[in-house]
């Protein structure tokens, strides 16, 4: 069992900051303190507070928590043990025996290309080659602001094995709507089960993606080989080698 740590094991120290919709005053400070208590902290100190406007106040808070967690019970898939560039290509040669077709885009109104480019472009990202450089992958990067309809059309035309969807803007859950729509459209077309569908972006997690009906989700710090590994292993396990 572990707890958060300040300077002594199990002291449970945590730093917080938040805004409350009240005018800055001694009462506001007291409210912030009690709020932190209600959040479950003890030995709470409101170390700083200031007015943000007539109706809002900002607080910096330190407190301690009794909450502990069993570290041994945490389970996580470790993407870092994925195959590398060479291993992926060899894997495809050996198990799939033909080029794998991948179509990617940043969809909806989202115009952030840098993330999907990092995964797909020749030059790659942080010294990791992008999918376009993989000899055994045929990669098509459709760019940004691509509608779900357009993406599906292309994927069908190119006989894609996998679709990559990048979503960076998440404000007001815009990505959820857009991601859900893609899956619905694919199901309507009856092609969902033929194609691996993967989502990615700095605020996309595997869990969320799976919930929305994707095969996987990749967050910040993803490298091309992580996605490539996933695709080819999934294909192999689905015995999609036709």
């Amino acid at each position: 069992m572990i707890k958060s740590y300040g300077d002594t094991i199990n002291d449970g120290a945590v730093q917080l900051s938040f805004t409350l919709p009240v005018r800055h005053s001694a009462k506001a400070d007291e409210a912030a303190k009690q709020y932190a208590h209600k959040l479950g902290f003890y030995e709470v100190e409101i170390v700083y507070s200031n007015a943000l406007s007539d109706e809002f106040s900002f607080f910096v808070v330190y407190g301690k928590t009794h909450v502990q967690i069993d570290y041994d019970k945490i389970e996580v898939e470790d993407v870092s043990k994925s195959m590398d560039f060479y291993e992926v290509n060899d894997f495809i040669k050996e198990h799939i025996k033909r080029q794998v077709v991948v179509v990617g885009a940043c969809t909806g109104t989202d115009a952030h290309t840098v993330g999907i480019d990092a995964i797909m472009n020749m030059k790659g990202f942080d010294q990791h080659y992008g999918l376009e450089r993989y000899p055994m992958i045929e990669a098509y990067n459709l760019g940004a602001q691509v509608s779900n309809e357009e993406l599906i059309k292309k994927a069908i035309a190119l006989k894609a094995d996998a679709i990559l969807v990048s979503q960076v803007v998440t404000q007001k859950e815009v990505h959820i709507h857009n991601m859900t729509e893609l899956i619905e459209l694919m199901e309507a077309e009856g092609i969902r089960s033929d194609i691996i569908v993967i989502a990615g972006g700095p605020r996309i997690g595997n869990k969320l993606a799976m919930e929305l009906g994707y095969d996987a989700g990749f967050g910040r710090g993803t490298y091309p080989e992580n996605v490539a590994s996933f695709i080819v292993e999934k294909m192999a396990s689905k015995a999609m080698q036709y």
Partner: protein, 529 residues
């Protein structure tokens, strides 16, 4: 600013400027021969067209859509004609159009009548714009002493205009001099301007005339209260550049992000379309004394800020020429640049300083818009906060004009209210703490800073030479800016471009050209050639 701290070669600067002049020349030739859907709609708006139909389609769009190819003659004729024929006020006519009236089919009356009537509405527009500029000038003069230098620029982006108002007023009270209402994701791709007060946007709030009005009022209110003129900013890049410019002129916006290069590269707007649009939008901005903000800073989100610094400088030179050719004086050219170097770069601060100082020295009168670190911001809000402090430092130490405040949560979410507060306190601390630093230090002769500026200027000249050889359209196609390639006939909006007929009539355009002295410039140019 005649004395150069960087010891830059004035002849080289002059050379770059001449190259930029040559580069924009063929583009201007194209521009002068074409009009677009949105230019016509903007013209109509200036003359009085407004409102929407039951499907939410704006009246200016209804008119232009109905005109089809007749657009080559200019939409004005038809609108004014309808006003005369129906003996209606614009309000009355707008209502009829919204209800289905097709004015393209109404027989045309006498040309002179139309021309005279048009002048009436232009006069009305001029009166309103003049009233706006007078108000602004008066307030700015009165409250000058409370302004920060550089002006602090904050963004609100809740998606809901009423929430925006709260956040904007709070920001102003905290010390912002400028408030920008970020547009919703995707608005730049809409080929119309939404209507009315809106409460649902993603990553930003719809730019509508009503939203402009609501925010303008809110900022005037808080401004009066704290004794400051709070500048309001919106965006006229994208598919509706001139229309939004027109709305801004009417509702007294003070600044507009306005750059067709940005639209081409980052929104995949067709290049022909947006260059044509840009010219008219800048004329409107110039007439309404609205500062533009150009967007070359964005190149550094896709390109490396050290390697490709010269693309920004080159683009500033090009944007300057486009702006001059639209009647914008230097004092309204908020040329953009950014502090986007990898924070791990050894001596990165010195290079950023060199870049910012060279922009300052090359464009001494321009109200430079300096953008904060975004690309290398991470979830480490603490590190991000000191990167923002270094950015504020460089801004103050090189006398930048417009300081877009960085958010410590840049990599995470659109700003929380507290993020904005922290950003303002960061800037205020630095600006006060290093107040006269710019004046108190000199750069070592042939030191890192001076040499870097020299190097970037040299690279800029080579780059401009190459662009000039290829032509700007080809250069864009060949990925020379932001490492993004856009095909000449690709992107959005090309179908809204029309070659003007020899009979093309646009009294607003002509009026502005006259007022802005562009006719004579054109003549002079021709003489020089």
């Amino acid at each position: 600013m005649s004395y150069s701290k960087l010891n830059l070669d004035q002849h080289k600067i002059e050379k770059a400027r001449q190259l930029a002049k040559q580069i924009v020349k063929p583009v201007n030739d194209y521009i002068s021969k074409h009009t677009t859907d949105t230019i016509e709609r903007a013209t109509l708006r200036i003359l009085g067209a407004d409102g929407i139909n039951t499907d939410g389609i704006p009246v200016p769009n209804l008119i232009v859509d109905a005109l089809g190819n007749k657009i080559e003659f200019g939409a004005t004729t038809y609108y004014i004609n309808a006003l005369i024929r129906k003996n209606a006020t614009p309000q009355q006519l707008n209502k009829q159009i919204a209800e289905g009236l097709d004015i393209s089919t109404i027989t045309l009356t006498d040309k002179v009548l139309i021309e005279n009537k048009a002048q009436e509405f232009i006069h009305e527009f001029t009166r309103r714009v003049k009233q706006n500029t007078d108000y602004r000038n008066q307030k700015i003069t009165a409250y000058k002493n409370k302004e920060n230098s550089p002006l602090l620029y904050l963004i609100v982006a809740t998606g809901n205009i009423y929430e925006d108002v709260k956040q904007a007023q709070a920001a102003a009270r905290q010390g912002a001099d400028i408030v920008a209402v970020i547009r919703t994701t995707g608005q730049s791709l809409l080929d119309y301007v939404p209507y009315g007060a809106t409460t649902e946007g993603f990553g930003g709030t719809y730019a509508t005339q009503e939203n402009f009005k609501i925010m303008r009022k809110a900022l005037d209110e808080v401004g009066e209260e704290i004794g400051k003129y709070i500048r309001l900013v919106n965006y006229c890049s994208g598919l509706c550049m001139p229309e939004i410019a027109a709305m801004g002129a009417l509702e007294r916006l003070d600044m507009m992000l306005n750059d067709s290069m940005y639209g081409i590269l980052f929104r995949d707007i067709n290049m022909y379309r947006t260059f044509v649009d840009q010219k008219f939008s800048r004329m409107i901005n110039a007439f309404a004394d609205i500062t533009i903000n150009s967007g070359e800073d964005n190149y550094l989100t896709t390109s490396d800020a050290y390697e490709k610094a010269y693309t920004v400088t080159a683009s500033q030179f090009i944007n300057e020429q486009f702006a001059y050719d639209s009647g914008l004086p230097a004092r309204l050219m908020g040329l953009g640049h950014a502090f986007e170097m990898n924070p791990d770069k050894e001596n990165g601060f010195l290079y950023e300083m060199a870049h910012a100082q060279m922009a300052r020295e090359i464009f001494p009168e321009a109200p430079l818009k300096y953008m904060p670190p975004t690309k290398y911001m991470t979830g480490d809000i603490f590190k991000g906060f000191i990167m923002n402090a270094m950015f504020n430092f460089v801004a103050k130490a090189t006398n930048q004009s417009i300081l877009l405040l960085g958010m410590l949560t840049e990599a995470i979410h659109t700003p929380f209210m507290q993020d904005r507060f922290l950003a303002v306190s960061n800037a205020q601390y630095i600006m006060n703490n290093i107040k006269d630093f710019a004046n108190d230090i000199e750069f070592k002769k042939d030191g890192l800073i001076q040499n870097r500026a020299k190097e970037v200027l040299d690279q800029t000249i080579s780059f401009l030479e190459e662009v000039n050889n290829k032509g700007l359209f080809n250069a864009i196609e060949q990925k020379m800016f932001a490492e993004i390639s856009r095909p000449k006939n690709g992107g959005k909006g090309l179908d809204g471009v029309y070659e003007k007929s020899p009979d093309y009539y646009n009294p607003v355009y002509e009026y502005l050209e006259n007022e802005l002295g562009l006719k004579s410039i054109a003549i002079e140019r021709r003489k020089i050639k």
